[in-house]
Symmetry: C2
Subunit: 286 residues, 2 copies
């Protein structure tokens, strides 16, 4: 059923709705990969999974101003639409939807989405409003694309948790598929923000993931939350530049701090290098 | 294409989703009438319009706790599911969806909808949170039912405005059809809350609409906003029991108070009788 046509490049909501209504009327299922562009192997793994599961694959590329705070990198976030379009073409994407900010937000919003669970921790703590803005654009994109399944990188663990909980709370008719984090050969999680790293920082950055691998046996042996946090903090404080934003251990996907750990837990960290703020995590069953 | 089967009575989200997925797979279009039950001729006019426009008609009956404030009439809101089911059967409704509160809200909400436009006026002023709760349940019902068109009574003018604006902001793939207010022979707008009126109040209640009919020529002659408000207040202050909640004149559907009136305006009022709070309005082109 896979179409072998060239990738269609679409900029307006009306046009993507029209072509997808047509695909749907032909009985084709739709897999959707929402992105902010700067596509890397992590995104490609999502596209590949969507191609396996569905007849039609849609990738959106939209750097969403709502999810950037004051002083964050909205203006400088890496953008290269032509390279991304080529990447999508090579990956067999059927439709690239890349609306302008004016197309997505033509008017003052009449309603706002407020995420009230799992946001006062991890990245939500240092990025107030980030998940509200992310949830708003994801819900709007779901309404526009109406996919059967949407694919997200598990790397953004809190994003995945928030999207899954939103879909449950509002009964959004979309399945959420989280794909494993894709890593460089030295373990560094692939991220669009890795391009911000200096050469020296790039050398030291794999310690982030290494610290998570190292803490795993300790977590499995029944160590307390505080011990695990201290262990990871000690390990990554060996990085000579930048500073720790957070290290935390929480239940997953509810993201609650529980004294006694059981079930699925997330050990998560964020580290601020000179220009790149990187995140990583592992999920463990304890 | 209209099915002539008996009305199906459905209480779970999973079941209504399954039957409507089947209807959709047969190429049938869906008209949806969301209600809080206590069905009257106003609701019947919505059902009739939905039957005209679509192959399948779904009515939801759900008294939504989120849209009632402290001290409002959630507990005592008129409920008679058996009578409503019969009414739907007679009106040729295909599916009645009447979930429990636990079915609609099984968990603590992970996200909340906040209406930020057109809510600090009219009913929004005296019912804080009402439109947030209404918008949340309407969006969730839209996700569950996935109708082509949803039908609302124009009588709840602010509700219609909020729903239309929400659909626009979030690109919800549902058409909104507002049907004219249905009235008793003496002009009183049909409302589920009319049953709360005492015999004496029922006699005086038609003055609400009469005041709006009487102010119309004044509005068309170019009177100022304040004059129109005073005129209506004077007229309805002749009612011997109860008190005015508000009388206001705003642009429609943006619901903004503008000194110089032009375009479509709404002249709206709310009146508190001993147990019934009634609303009414007219729209005028000036």
């Amino acid at each position: 059923m896979k179409t072998t046509n060239a990738t269609h490049q679409i900029q307006t909501i009306a046009q993507i709705q029209a072509v997808l209504a047509n695909e749907r009327s032909l009985g084709r299922s739709i897999g959707f990969v929402p992105t902010m562009g700067a596509l890397h192997e992590g995104h490609l793994s999502l596209i590949e999974q969507a191609r396996k599961d569905h007849d039609v694959v849609v990738v959106s590329i939209f750097v969403n101003p709502l999810q950037f705070g004051e002083g964050e990198d909205f203006e400088t976030y890496p953008r290269d639409i032509h390279k991304d379009q080529e990447t999508c073409q090579e990956a067999g994407v059927d439709y690239v939807f890349y609306p302008s900010v004016e197309e997505m937000y033509p008017d003052v919003a009449s309603v706002e989405l407020k995420v009230v669970q799992g946001v006062d921790v991890l990245c939500g703590k240092s990025r107030p409003g980030h998940f509200d803005g992310m949830a708003t654009v994801v819900l709007k994109l779901f309404h526009i694309i109406q996919p059967d399944t949407a694919y997200f990188g598990q790397k953004d663990a809190q994003q995945v948790a928030v999207v899954k909980q939103m879909v449950k709370t509002l009964a959004v008719p979309v399945s959420i598929h989280a794909c494993p984090t894709v890593r460089e050969s030295d373990g560094l999680a692939k991220s669009s923000r890795n391009v911000y790293l200096t050469a020296e920082e790039r050398k030291q950055a794999p310690m982030l993931y290494q610290s998570l691998l190292d803490v795993k046996p300790l977590a499995l042996s029944g160590a307390q939350r505080d011990e695990l946090i201290s262990f990871v903090r000690d390990r990554i404080s060996t990085i000579s530049s930048g500073e720790i934003d957070y290290v935390d251990v929480l239940s997953y996907p509810k993201l609650e701090a529980e004294a006694s750990l059981s079930g699925t837990i997330i050990i998560a960290l964020a580290y601020q290098f000179s220009r790149a703020r990187l995140i990583d995590h592992i999920l463990i069953e304890v």
